[in-house]
Symmetry: C2
Subunit: 394 residues, 2 copies
């Protein structure tokens, strides 16, 4: 980890040698890794003391981390994650709340809180996170970073702690779009469809209606620059059934899988879980088979629905989060309310498996706010190319 | 650690080989070690996630643990400690509250909670703990175990996490006095004064007045058996100045040293400390130089005072704790009140550096209660011999 970590982004493991290629496309870049990924020479703590105790020192490095090392990037350290990655608050009862340099009185968002904090503070050039229900997109929006939730399954999560495998994805953060794109070239390669093809912007008015009016206002100039570049966005509605239905189906899928993943640990050790996390696992345990069956069926229908709306070239332009980050001093209840609203925005990518890129293109009250692009499966690199064009034009 | 740990006494580190002598005086005995002592192949977590993260895998074993291994005892695992050993509640916000098999609705007491829990549950024959302000004696009393706070400095604490070095001691727990004495032979050797010499029992009436009347009542039969064996106890008062003065001097000594030990960690990482622990460290930080100077002077006077009362053969007969263990459901405030009362009983050994043995010779409401013997410096083995005689006679 860095000698000085004033934002408490890193877990202070003793440094172990992590060799990287002497040259390569990521040469000169330093990166941090959320403490869910195995790195040889380090434990994998997952933000929970029991997971950390049981981990031992890993002998092998997660393949996604290894790809970055092989591309010449330098490993800096492992970052704090919300406990067992099952929170969006950017706080951990055992490892603390990393500081959001872009808005120090506000939360980082999570669960990839330390990775976002480290990049926002300039302690590294980019950082790996994971996104199950929003854990890359939320902190990207709150910390003023580029952050991608890739197409489900596109970036390997081997040798990485699961939360809910059918929803888990591996994303990353960077301050600069150029850096972000260099990492994309290594982790994504090329899309199956060529980048050069035009996109068709779409404006999901029902999603925008969920965001705070002040946030919508703040995002408007960036959305207009985007339309000036790529053509006007056609209005549409994206909800299937209702946002409430989508919210619950996502929560049932995530809850069931989270309990399958962590229930054995929780039942064996009765670990003291942090506020919110304990309640969510207790709730997850009670998700019924019927709820899961219905959620699976809904997910299939939603994927088809959104796939048809997007076609091969549609890109939703949408707010990443309902608003700027809540204050650190906000209580658990206020954070839970915020989270429940946020999930309604975030669940499109989760339910569909489609990629979503958050771009740090707006501020409100001095705090960052992300504008998102959500495209069809496999369009990840094209979304980033659009962000690059937009940044170069600005 | 044991395959099954239904009392949550152990920290679930991956098992590493810890060789022990094939034969020896402790052959056939299995022991556990509070997670403050280094054991090669394991981290040392100290009940705090940051200490655990920074630990890495230790390469060398604490000499006191090594002596047990060299005597043929088999290492079973590392046990949960109250956070940074700075609590008497037997709870840890990160690693949970080990269960007290002798009184499952009540706390184990701490900070050597997991060691006491493991021995009480029969998961091992004996276990190492540390006692700074009562961390062996309190759980011994609450869990129905023999537990010794040795003469300060008599048992090595090298390669063990400090709390307050001028008060820290290394003790142990066992269910059976025979087992307890076998460990004593290895860790203490012989006293300078021969064991066979008679003892002169002393009854500190001002100390007894601090205990709950029902607890006094419950301890009386054991105290009478002891007097039948070793002669009637002469009544005396032991407080110097007042119990309040003694309480505060001990707390100032412990607080200053605890802050010297853990202040750098706390200031560097701002770790989320558990309830009570956070408040005690915050208080410790504010202990003044003047308070410490006065406490040092008082400690010298008290050691002389108690040394004169005891002479070479005096042994105080006293309650270990004010009462049976508080309920697990007791709030932090009730526990704090109990702790503050307990320290008035426990501070004699801390301030004097003299040995104190708690014997599981009473019960009240079905829960254990310890009777203590406190003798002059270096009389540790003689106190245990007295406990052996008492047990054999029963």
């Amino acid at each position: 980890m860095p000698l000085h970590d004033p934002v408490h982004a890193f877990v202070p493991y003793p440094d172990a040698p992590v060799p990287h290629a002497p040259t390569g496309p990521l040469s000169g870049l330093g990166f941090a890794v959320k403490d869910l990924f195995d790195v040889a020479g380090y434990p994998t703590g997952g933000g929970n003391p029991f997971v950390l105790a049981m981990s031992g020192i890993k002998q092998q490095t997660a393949p996604t981390v290894q790809r970055l090392l092989d591309a010449g990037a330098r490993f800096i350290g492992k970052t704090v994650t919300d406990e067992l990655a099952f929170s969006m608050n950017g706080d951990n009862a055992h490892f603390g709340a990393p500081i959001n340099s872009a808005a120090p009185l506000r939360i980082c968002g999570g669960s990839s809180s330390g990775s976002a904090s480290a990049v926002a503070a300039g302690l590294c050039d980019f950082a790996l996170g994971t996104d199950t229900g929003g854990s890359v997109r939320a902190p990207a929006s709150h910390c003023g970073l580029y952050g991608l939730r890739p197409t489900h399954g596109r970036v390997s999560l081997q040798r990485t702690l699961d939360l809910a495998p059918s929803l888990d994805t591996c994303g990353w953060f960077a301050r600069e779009v150029q850096t972000f794109a260099r990492v994309a070239d290594v982790l994504l390669g090329a899309d199956a469809a060529p980048i050069g093809r035009g996109v068709r912007l779409l404006w999901p008015r029902d999603l925008w209606a969920l965001a705070e009016p002040a946030a919508v206002q703040a995002l408007r100039p960036a959305a207009e620059r985007l339309q000036a570049l790529a053509g006007p966005a056609a209005q549409l509605s994206v909800a299937l059934e209702s946002f409430d239905a989508m919210y619950w189906h996502l929560r049932h899928l995530q809850g069931r899988e989270a309990w399958q993943t962590d229930g054995p640990l929780i039942e064996r050790f009765a670990p003291p879980l942090g506020p919110g996390v304990a309640e969510r696992f207790a709730w997850s345990r009670g998700v019924t088979d019927d709820q899961v069956v219905q959620a699976h069926a809904f997910r299939g229908r939603f994927r088809t629905h959104l796939g048809e709306l997007l076609g091969s070239d549609g890109v939703l332009v949408m707010p990443t989060m309902p608003d700027i980050a809540p204050l650190r001093a906000a209580g658990e209840a206020a954070l839970e309310d915020y989270r429940n609203l946020a999930i309604r925005l975030l669940c499109l990518a989760g339910l569909s498996g489609f990629p979503q890129l958050s771009m740090p293109l707006a501020r409100r009250d001095g705090s960052p706010l992300g504008l998102s692009l959500l495209g069809p499966a496999g369009s990840d690199r094209r979304l980033i190319a659009l962000a690059e064009r937009l940044a170069h034009q600005a």
